[in-house]
């Protein structure tokens, strides 16, 4: 098993953290994992993306140009990365900002109204947790519990956010598994 995911969006949308949560979750359950961040030249704002590969075998290339999954938080990210998806791949899309789905027929999409669900869960700041929850469920890579473990490791020391994030992860997970 080897799955690669690209998380992409605007700086400030918590894209890197999403990848980080996946990486920690995967490591915690004993998988191999590689995480590659990529930033634009801006210090704040701008675009950002990261690539996370998880596998139960040795990971050769940490780079992928045929991801199994793409998580896009805004329209330009969708436009840039969805065309790369493997046949049969899955796009997890932030429908708060993304109103259309990709043109491709050979992939699946999941629309996640992140801001709306996050508000429900308690705060807009948890929008990225909604998405990673949905991602976990849709990808089948992680159980909800595993995702929560990864979130806690990724945010080590910031315990005060744990309850809100847990709620948001669950909400996102439920959206897919519902």
């Amino acid at each position: 098993m080897l799955k690669s995911t690209i998380f992409a969006g605007l700086g400030g949308q918590g894209v890197m953290l999403m990848g980080y949560v996946l990486s920690h979750s995967a490591m915690a359950k004993g998988l191999n994992v590689t995480y590659i961040p990529a930033y634009g030249p801006e210090m704040r704002g701008g675009t950002a993306n990261c690539t996370v590969t998880v596998s139960d075998e040795k990971i050769d290339s940490p780079v992928t140009d045929e991801p199994d999954l793409v998580v896009a938080m805004n329209p330009p990210s969708m436009e840039k990365f969805c065309p790369m998806l493997k046949q049969g791949g899955v796009a997890v899309l932030n429908s708060t900002l993304i109103k259309t789905t990709p043109q491709r027929r050979d992939i699946d999409s999941v629309m996640v109204p992140s801001l709306e669900l996050a508000r429900e869960a308690g705060s807009e700041r948890a929008a990225n947790m909604i998405v990673i929850g949905a991602f976990a469920a849709r990808s089948g890579l992680l159980t909800l519990d595993e995702t929560v473990v990864g979130m806690k490791r990724a945010l080590k020391g910031k315990d005060k956010f744990f309850p809100l994030n847990e709620k948001a992860l669950a909400r996102g997970f439920a959206l897919v598994q519902g």
Binding site: Y20, S23, H24, M27, N32, V33, T34, Y35, I36, P37, A38, D60, S61, P62, V63, T64, D65, E66, R153
Partner: protein, 362 residues
């Protein structure tokens, strides 16, 4: 080794492994993509009784570690391409004065300010001496973060063994990426053997002096031979490489670090598709595993060089292979190499259609 895996960024792996190796002095100047390295040191050095100085420049920083090395301390500096250029004079001095230390280059795209993308364009600088005079540094190019941890750790031993700077090179991708790593066991610096040349104060012994100016007729020539003997010894004793499926391969790719890692995936895929391809990965760039690669070259075998530069390592490959095998080169400076690019090069060499990369003549 403690068996605990930690998810760590490449820069932090380098820094923490150095501390584990007993490094207690670090000086460096910020530069992307390795800022987390000095930042790690700034936080950690005080905790382990070591010193972190943010030098006023790369030049100052390497001169600081040269000072620390004078006292026998394990010392390190790090930077990225333009900053490493500024260290070249001092590296030449350190080789001349036979001072052990570790210099890290997390390469970025060049020339000039270039880009922040992964690149291997400082291969010549690292292996041929960007500084002046006849000298070499041992250059280690780990292929993943676990190997990074192990080799940074080993770099300090090698530096001490040869009384010579050792360089560890990576690229922006390796500096920024994260991977689970098992850190090596901590070394207690006080337990390290002394070499008998360190400056510690002339107490109960003759004074010592360390210098590189050697004016007496024929003396510098002699010193150069002494240094060369060490470089020859490095080649004999500490050349490192790895090969995969090379026994029966008809096409052997030579690539290192990130390029090798991406290539490894491609090689495996082509193998699965029935193509006889293999991978030869130099781990020491200097000494380059010449004899080992030469042994693999020959009739009916083709060598394919894949590097994130325009054609630098290919010269070492050519010096190893000579005319025994055809050599093909695909150079991709300042690029995150994709599995597709790696594969297409391989297909092209396998088919011999010359569509990707070019033939390197010797």
């Amino acid at each position: 080794m403690s068996a605990e895996r930690t998810l760590m960024r490449g820069s932090n792996v380098i820094a923490e492994s150095a501390i584990m190796a007993g490094c207690r002095f670090f000086a460096g100047y910020p530069i992307t993509p390795q800022n987390e390295l000095p930042e790690h040191m700034a936080a950690r050095m005080p905790q382990v009784g070591g010193t972190f100085i943010q030098g006023e420049s790369e030049t100052a920083s390497i001169n600081m570690i040269m000072g620390a090395a004078m006292t026998g301390a394990r010392a390190m500096t790090s930077s990225s391409s333009p900053g490493v250029s500024l260290k070249q004079e001092a590296i030449s001095f350190m080789c001349g004065m036979e001072l052990p230390a570790v210099v890290v280059n997390v390469m970025r795209g060049g020339p000039g300010l270039g880009s922040l993308a992964p690149s291997q364009g400082d291969y010549f600088q690292s292996t041929r001496g960007g500084g002046h005079g006849d000298y070499r540094v041992l250059v280690l190019a780990p292929g993943n973060l676990q190997e990074m941890a192990n080799l940074v750790y080993k770099a300090f031993d090698l530096a001490d063994k040869y009384r010579n700077p050792v360089m560890v090179v990576g690229d922006g991708l390796m500096g920024q990426m994260m991977e689970p790593v098992v850190l090596p066991e901590p070394v207690n610096p006080a337990s390290l053997p002394k070499g008998g040349w360190e400056l510690t104060g002339a107490k109960g012994r003759e004074k010592r002096k360390i210098y590189s100016m050697i004016l007496g007729q024929g003396e510098l020539l002699e010193h150069c031979h002494h240094l060369q003997d060490k470089y020859d010894r490095m080649e004999a004793e500490d050349t490192m490489w790895e090969s995969l499926y090379t026994e029966d391969a008809e096409v052997i790719v030579v690539a290192y670090a990130t390029a090798a890692r991406v290539m490894e995936g491609a090689v495996k895929r082509l193998r699965r598709e029935g193509h006889k391809v293999g991978l030869f990965r130099p781990i020491t760039l200097f000494p380059f595993p010449k004899a080992q690669l030469r042994a693999l070259a020959g009739e009916g075998r083709c060598i394919a060089v894949f590097e994130l530069s325009m054609g630098q390592m290919v010269e070492d490959v050519a010096l190893s292979v000579g005319q025994r095998s055809e050599i093909h080169l695909y150079g991709l400076p300042s690029t995150i190499p994709t599995p597709t690019q790696a594969r297409e090069f391989l297909y092209s060499v396998v088919k011999g259609d010359g569509k990707v990369g070019r033939r390197y003549e010797i």
